[in-house]
């Protein structure tokens, strides 16, 4: 049995496939960003991944890089991120997505040396349920894994199309909450098709008893439907939503208008996951 520290996360995946949107906290400013997260939850989000912006986002494509730049420009810091989370008025589990150096440095001024414990402690305090740290492979994750276990948080790992054999097993021993199935090679960014690598990855993961959420490139309800029908327990959507935020910034649209568009996009994606569940339910009944 795989680990599950956060009950809220486990429950979010328990009744039907989960729609998991991602936004960068503080993009383009804290107030709008808060309204956007709340809109996504109204639109049907089951879990929200919130990006804490790092200056060297090596796993991101241009869309999320720009969002990160806007958030940093608006003054987002780890401490403001925690305050932002504490202020959010939503009733779904929140997962923090960031890069290891920010996790590693937090609280260093008090403790005198870097390490992940103070970050995890503070995250637990404000109600974060788990982490995704894309530049932290299983080999380097020991200290963060321990801190997560201490505070009852989950540590999500990415499984890439290139992850096989022993590596896959090593990751599956460490993962908790859900596994982030990277739908295709490359960086984040909205795409107009669903990649075959996704089906192959889901096949490799079928024997593992942990929720499988697919991300990278999903941009429409139809993609979400296909991916859930293919066996995923959730879909993670980032760039397609951030495109809506970026358009709002470009056209100087009022926050409420952008929030309404995000809510509508969330409904489309959530409806897609529901349709996918019906399809995959029908198929498993037949077999």
């Amino acid at each position: 049995m795989t680990r599950a520290n956060s009950r809220a996360l486990a429950e979010a995946f328990a009744d039907g496939p989960a729609f998991v949107p991602y936004l960068v906290a503080g993009d383009p400013d804290c107030e709008s960003s808060k309204a956007y997260v709340e809109a996504l939850v109204r639109g049907g989000a089951d879990v929200v991944e919130l990006g804490l912006p790092f200056s060297e986002p090596i796993a991101e494509g241009p869309t999320i890089q720009s969002a990160i730049a806007r958030a940093l420009e608006s003054g987002m810091t780890p401490e403001r991120f925690f305050e932002f989370v504490a202020d959010l008025d939503v009733d779904v589990p929140l997962v923090c997505m960031t890069y290891y150096n920010l996790v590693y440095q937090y609280g260093r001024e008090e403790t005198g040396e870097p390490g992940p414990e103070p970050f995890v402690r503070r995250a637990a305090e404000v109600g974060i349920e788990g982490f995704v740290v894309p530049d932290l492979p299983a080999e380097e994750a020991g200290p963060l894994r321990d801190a997560c276990d201490e505070y009852g948080l989950d540590l999500v790992f990415v499984v890439a199309p290139t992850t096989r054999g022993e590596r896959l097993e090593r990751i599956m021993e460490q993962v908790s909450g859900y596994v982030y199935v990277q739908a295709r090679l490359g960086t984040t960014g909205a795409r107009s098709d669903v990649s075959r690598a996704t089906d192959e990855s889901l096949d490799r993961l079928r024997e593992y008893d942990v929720p499988k959420a697919v991300g990278f490139g999903i941009s429409t309800g139809d993609h979400a439907e296909r991916i859930v029908a293919g066996g995923a327990d959730g879909v993670i959507v980032g760039s397609a939503l951030i495109d809506v935020v970026a358009d709002g910034v470009e056209n100087d649209d009022p926050t409420a208008e952008v929030a309404a568009r995000l809510e509508e996009k969330a409904r489309e994606l959530k409806a897609g996951t529901r349709r996918g569940a019906t399809a995959s339910g029908a198929r498993s009944e037949r077999t």
Partner: protein, 422 residues
């Protein structure tokens, strides 16, 4: 002194990269062990042969007479500027491109700051018939134009990176992104002793030829080992290359000269460190795949670095070098922009060698501690080897412009151009 166990140098090193890259990194570790460490299929023999025939090795160790007189000691230069392409960078680029070929990769990508590594990689790819794409920050493209021409002429694509300040840091991030996308058929030829394991160890091994030769040569010439070895340090590949074979020689002091830029102070609010002195002023952090010393703010955001020399302009440094500094084996010092520019002109005028701006930092340190204006009693000793990592042809435009603007005293005027220098 082997400082490496399991990809770590003390606390530094490691593999902090996206999962998509890990299988490729494991494959590279395996290839490094087999071909480089065990010479499987005669890889190292072929590498050495190509370094001689294509690369022009061994390079000379030259006593510089007028500098020896000026500093009242024996000063030798290890002439890496004479390597094909004009810098030590080819030692590593040729090694990695050849390794990629042995691994069956079809495409090479690389980042470049000064353009020297990009140029070396482009040359090695043309020589060994592989496709090559180089990522380079837009700021560096403008200040190192000759190298952009060279890369294009050798058949490489040059992809401008426009995010951030557009220097080496951004170029490395963008090359990592390309690698994560095309990992199955592509090898990333990283340009310094940075990045995830096994890059720091492997690049050091390819560059160690510098100190292998220098150690032999100085014994032949001077009958003994040097008192000190000086090398500039950006990521630290010429540095580790010049130090590697001396680290066990406890009486040889090893001095890494970083770019002091315009100031060692840090502007936390703007997130800018007007220097590239990560060994002298940085703190432990994780950047570009490794735990090392980095220029960062208290939150852990990486700072924008600065140096007049593009090749040193980087917020991180190789993990092994950081470890050797912590362990007290290597001394980290720094030289600012103005002193490096002055040293550039001094070597050009007194010895007939135009150094790379990067290498000029190492020379600047000699002037600072042993020059006519220095305090008595430096610790470099009577026999000093300076690694002249590259030649300065790529820097001429920058140097002329910067020395003019800053009023560097020993710079030649350019009145010969009608109407002055535009």
């Amino acid at each position: 002194m082997s400082t490496e166990t399991d990809g770590k140098f003390g606390e530094y090193g490691g593999q902090y990269v996206p999962e998509a890259l890990m299988p490729a990194i494991e494959e590279l570790e395996d290839a490094y062990e087999r071909y480089v460490l065990e010479n499987e299929d005669g890889f190292m023999d072929e590498f050495r042969r190509r370094l001689r025939e294509f690369g022009g090795r061994p390079t000379s160790l030259q006593r510089v007479d007028r500098l020896s007189e000026r500093y009242d000691r024996e000063v030798y230069l290890k002439r890496e500027d004479l390597v094909h392409g004009g810098a030590h960078k080819l030692n590593n680029a040729l090694g990695q491109v050849l390794l990629a070929k042995y691994m069956g990769k079809e495409r090479i990508i690389a980042e470049t700051g000064a353009g020297q590594h990009g140029t070396a990689t482009a040359m090695a790819c043309a020589h060994l018939d592989l496709d090559c794409e180089v990522y380079m920050g837009h700021h560096d493209i403008n200040r190192q134009r000759p190298n952009v021409f060279r890369m294009r002429i050798n058949g490489a694509e040059v992809n401008p990176v426009t995010v951030g300040r557009g220097t080496l840091k951004e170029a490395i991030s963008e090359t990592l992104r390309d690698w994560a996308t095309n990992v199955e058929d592509t090898h990333y030829v990283i340009g310094s002793v940075v990045g995830p394991h096994p890059f720091p160890a492997m690049v050091r091994d390819f560059q160690s030829v510098i100190s292998e030769e220098a150690r032999e040569q100085i014994r032949e010439r001077a009958g003994r080992l040097p008192d000190s070895v000086l090398a500039c340090a950006g990521g630290g590949s010429n540095t580790m290359g010049a130090f590697a074979e001396f680290t066990d020689d406890r009486d040889v002091s090893l001095v890494a000269v970083e770019a002091g830029g315009s100031s060692l102070d840090v502007d936390e609010d703007r997130g800018v460190a007007p220097n590239s002195a990560s060994l002298s002023t940085g703190t432990e952090g994780v950047l570009h795949g490794a735990r090392t010393r980095v220029l960062q703010d208290t939150d852990g955001q990486i700072m924008e670095s600065h140096s007049v020399s593009a090749g040193l302009d980087y917020a991180g440094v190789g993990p092994e070098l950081a470890h050797l500094v912590d362990a007290g084996r290597v001394t980290a010092v720094n030289v600012d922009d103005d002193d490096a520019l002055e040293a550039f002109h001094r070597l050009s005028q007194t010895e007939g060698i135009i150094p790379a701006l990067e290498s000029a930092h190492a020379l600047g340190y000699l002037e600072a501690v042993a020059g006519p204006d220095a305090d008595e009693g430096d610790e470099l000793g009577d026999l000093v080897v300076v690694n002249l990592s590259g030649r300065g042809d790529k820097d001429l435009e920058t140097v002329i412009e910067e020395t003019h603007e800053r009023g560097i005293a020993n710079a030649p005027d350019m009145d010969v151009f009608t109407g002055g220098l535009q």
